[in-house]
């Protein structure tokens, strides 16, 4: 047999199943029986086996590490290349041993389809089910089941049927229907490259033929657009936003809205190197670069979408999560959540239950999620994130958690959990979408002023002289020709808030937030004290953040005494203290965030990073 055909498409397939059920043997046999192994490969392995005094096994063809061959198990996933019928397959051989589940998951996460191997003699085992569950969570929806080692049960149809029924029942609980269930003997080559006479009662395809029945995902481009921004480049005059389109399509002239900032602009060009003529459109799967007709603030992590169908935004999500970390997953510990290109700190708010692959209906709860367990959880992020439900969008509906430098778990989002900010977020989104703008953009103002708009919130108990610090900072900034303005909430009480009773603290904060929003839209650095509010600042800050979003909010806390960094605080001082020093620290922070250009003394000629 030869593979002398031009490749038209490619597909990644993973082989999974319980340890020792014959995954690597199946892979080796598939290559050997299709004549697709390099010359001398079998002879080389045979010679090594002879030398070590053990029987040749097809599994050795791909278990490449010395240790794997010595132990006779696969430790890590191997990618192997296999071309057949105009399709280039990468077949990923995943380990079946429980200890190497993280490697199995790494392999399966790259796959579009799976072959799940079950030993006919041993039947359905722990990892058979766990792997099935993980495949459904990893997004591998196409599965063909291979009941292997049929030679050991005399090719009995009733044995095969019993396993087929048990496993089909299990998969149906995960809403997965296997494409085929194939009786086979990988060791003897039965039903691998061709249907063999040993199973006259079997009418389906061989393993090789079943591969062609896996179909490629094509519907992604038909979905609403999702473009998670990966980076913003300014190598030359162009300011190019790059990212990989995970769903839908875009073309020049399309209006894009970025979540969660709600900023919007039109696509001016689609940039590409060595493409003539330049592209005018792009679709799901492509890594693209675009420029916009307006210099709005966009950064890595935001998701671009069409105005009519945007991703969800919240600080709380419910998800099914599998945990691979060396330490158990705990509530009240901070992890880093990475969703598409966004990375934010998060905490596990609640562990609802542990999902047992052997008993999917079990309602078992525990306080931690141990390694290799699957759990139903709610998590809370520090700042709002844009996301989708996994059922609607795969890539923006899943995330990983990072613990101690490593990706330690993966999850799929099942539900948006409403948080307290929901109504403010809706208000901000609706207000921004109809906001009437002049011809001057925020970037124009920033260039004129020598700084970006920002909100500086001074928090802390009474008599710490934080208002004094705010006044001092305003004076220093204005002396440096910055456009800074001190706004005390008390200034609103007798005017804008005159109609409000003390019983509506939420409305007081909302109006305060909207006033700040207006002032920052004029390009000002707005300095606010917070004493007039009856509310604790931990409720105040998120609301103002939501209403002024995406203008940066910087929180300066003045404590009575220093007790370490405060949560949600950028700078902490113990007041009253050396105000010159505090002022220069704040200005330094503004510079390090890229909000303030160096003070040059002359008229501003500013280059901005945005």
């Amino acid at each position: 047999m030869t593979t002398d055909t031009a490749i038209k498409e490619r597909m990644n397939i993973v082989i999974v199943g319980h340890v020792d059920h014959g995954k690597s043997t199946l892979l080796g046999r598939l290559y050997a029986d299709t004549g697709t192994l390099p010359i001398g490969k079998i002879e080389k392995i045979q010679a090594i086996c002879k030398q070590q005094g053990k029987e040749f096994e097809y599994a050795f063809l791909f278990d490449s590490f010395l240790e794997e061959q010595q132990q006779g198990i696969t430790i890590d996933t191997a990618r192997t290349f296999f071309s057949w019928g105009g399709r280039q397959y990468i077949i990923i051989d995943a380990p079946g041993h429980k200890e190497f589940l993280k490697n199995m998951v790494s392999g399966a996460a790259r796959a579009e389809a799976a072959l799940l191997v079950i030993d006919a003699l041993e039947g359905v085992r722990d990892q058979s089910k766990r792997h099935g569950l993980l495949l459904s969570m990893l997004g591998v929806k196409q599965v063909t089941v291979i009941v292997n080692k049929m030679d050991l049960v005399g090719y009995r149809q009733d044995t095969f049927q019993a396993i087929e029924k048990e496993y089909r029942d299990f998969l149906s609980q995960l809403n997965v229907t296997p494409q085929y269930v194939i009786p086979a003997s990988a060791k003897l080559g039965v039903n691998i490259a061709q249907v063999s006479p040993e199973t006259p009662w079997y009418t389906g395809p061989s393993v090789l033929d079943s591969l062609a029945h896996f179909s490629l995902e094509t519907a992604l481009a038909e979905k609403p657009l999702r473009l998670p921004i990966q980076d913003v480049y300014k190598f030359d005059a162009r300011r190019i936003l790059v990212g990989r389109i995970t769903a839908g399509q875009l073309k020049i002239g399309d209006r894009l809205v970025f979540s969660p900032s709600n900023k919007s602009a039109n696509i001016q060009t689609i940039e590409a190197f060595n493409v003539d003529p330049p592209p005018t459109q792009a679709q799901a799967g492509q890594s693209v670069g675009i420029t916009l007709d307006e210099q709005i603030f966009v950064e890595r992590g935001q998701i671009a979408a069409q105005e009519t169908d945007r991703p969800l935004v919240s600080t709380r999500i419910r998800a099914n999560l599998f945990w691979l970390g060396k330490q158990p997953l705990e509530t009240r510990r901070t992890y880093s959540l990475r969703l598409a290109t966004r990375e934010v700190p998060c905490e596990i708010a609640k562990i609802h239950r542990i999902v047992d692959a052997n008993n999917l209906d079990d309602k078992h709860t525990q306080s931690t999620v141990k390694r290799n367990e699957v759990a139903d959880i709610t998590l809370r992020t520090k700042t709002p994130i844009a996301f989708d439900l996994y059922a609607n969008f795969e890539t923006t509906g899943r995330f990983v958690l990072v613990d101690d430098y490593d990706v330690a778990g993966g999850g799929i989002i099942t539900e948006l959990v409403h948080d307290e900010q929901e109504s403010f977020r809706t208000e901000a989104r609706e207000r921004d979408s109809v906001w009437v703008k002049g011809d001057i953009t925020p970037a124009d103002r920033a260039k004129q002023y020598g700084h970006h708009a920002a909100v500086l919130l001074f928090t802390g108990p009474d008599t710490t002289a934080k208002a004094f610090l705010a006044r001092k900072l305003e004076t220093v900034l204005v002396a440096e020709r910055r456009h800074a303005y001190l706004l005390s909430p008390e200034n609103l009480q007798r005017g804008l808030d005159a109609d409000l009773q003390d019983t509506k603290p939420e409305e007081v904060i909302r109006r305060f937030g909207e006033v700040i929003r207006l002032l920052t839209d004029t390009g000002l650095l707005v300095l606010c004290t917070t004493n007039a509010f009856q509310q604790p600042t931990r409720e105040l800050i998120p609301t103002i953040q939501t209403l002024v979003n995406p203008t940066p909010l910087i929180t300066i806390h003045m404590a009575k005494e220093l007790t370490g960094p405060q949560p949600d605080t950028d700078l902490t001082f113990a007041g009253p203290e050396n105000f010159d020093d505090c002022t220069s620290q704040i200005i330094q922070l503004l510079k390090s965030r890229g909000l303030l250009k160096e003070f040059s003394g002359g008229p501003s000629e500013v280059q901005f990073s945005i």
């Binding site: 001398g40 430790i75 890590d76 191997a78 990468i90 996460a109 590409a272 190197f273 799967g285 993966g410």
Partner: protein, 266 residues
């Protein structure tokens, strides 16, 4: 062609992740077909720019045409090229006759380690492919190396979807492999598709009935019998061959590669 654009999109995504997440990043360029395709992909990813240095570990035994080609492209494409060499080992007379794995370890692995240490790179992009060698088949796209440059293949971190390993303890670094999913044939198909300049007088038969399939040091790399005179003929030849790509590379014999790679070889 569609499969090539898929591979391109994936590699470009990986390169952009690398550029975003590593402050001190570099790419190895050996002038071979793979790392030259990788360099081309970087120009794709960054719109004609290559925003990090290219490293070449020069063993002094390279085929002379390779050096000419290197310097020409570096000039034309305005590359920041950094050449490293284990001068101490060369001064002490290291050469292939002292043992091939020993020579590779000293001049390539050690040469690379010296260069990485000197410059303190935290991310190194390499053009290795899974189908070249069975240990490379088990690599991650983002693969950590410890303080001694060693690869702990027994305990690789999970790699989920497009979320790669981008955080790591001080003193360690990450090897980034954007070409893992490419085959030798894909490389040639892409060279043709994009019209990428390559070392045609080495990779194609010049009338002698021989060509190089894989390039390394002159003493340890042998041409194969082939009459392929253009890229199309190379692709057809490769579709029909069952000889391993690196059959002409002496370092791969026995367990040479597993040991070399564990110790930090590319």
């Amino acid at each position: 062609m569609k499969h090539l654009r898929q591979l391109e999109d994936q590699s470009v995504f990986i390169l952009r992740e690398a550029y975003k997440n590593f402050d001190n990043l570099a790419m190895l360029w050996s002038m071979g077909k793979d790392s030259t395709v990788l360099l081309w992909l970087a120009r794709k990813a960054f719109f004609g720019h290559v925003p990090f240095p290219l490293l070449h570990v020069d063993t002094s035994y390279k085929i002379p045409e390779m050096i000419e080609y290197r310097d020409r492209l570096a000039r034309e494409w305005r590359l920041n090229l950094i050449v490293g060499q284990n001068k101490k080992a060369l001064a002490e007379g290291m050469n292939p006759s002292k043992g091939r794995v020993e020579c590779c370890t000293a001049l390539k692995t050690q040469g690379l380690k010296q260069l990485l240490e000197e410059k303190g790179y935290t991310g190194v992009i390499l053009g290795v492919r899974s189908d070249e060698d069975s240990t490379r088949a088990k690599e991650r796209y983002f693969s950590p190396r410890d303080k001694n440059n060693e690869w702990d293949f027994r305990d690789q971190p999970p790699e989920l979807w497009d979320q790669y390993k981008i955080s790591f303890p001080p003193g360690t670094h990450i090897r980034i492999h954007p070409l893992l999913d490419w085959t030798e044939i894909n490389i040639w198909e892409y060279i043709k598709l994009e019209n990428i300049p390559f070392l045609d007088n080495l990779y194609l038969d010049q009338g002698t009935g021989k060509r190089y399939r894989s390039l390394g040091c002159a003493p340890c790399t042998y041409p194969i019998d082939s009459t392929s005179k253009n890229v199309d003929e190379v692709i057809i030849e490769l579709r029909n061959t069952k000889v391993a790509e690196r059959a002409g590379r002496a370092q791969d014999e026995g367990r040479g590669m597993e040991q070399l790679r564990k110790d930090g070889y590319m």
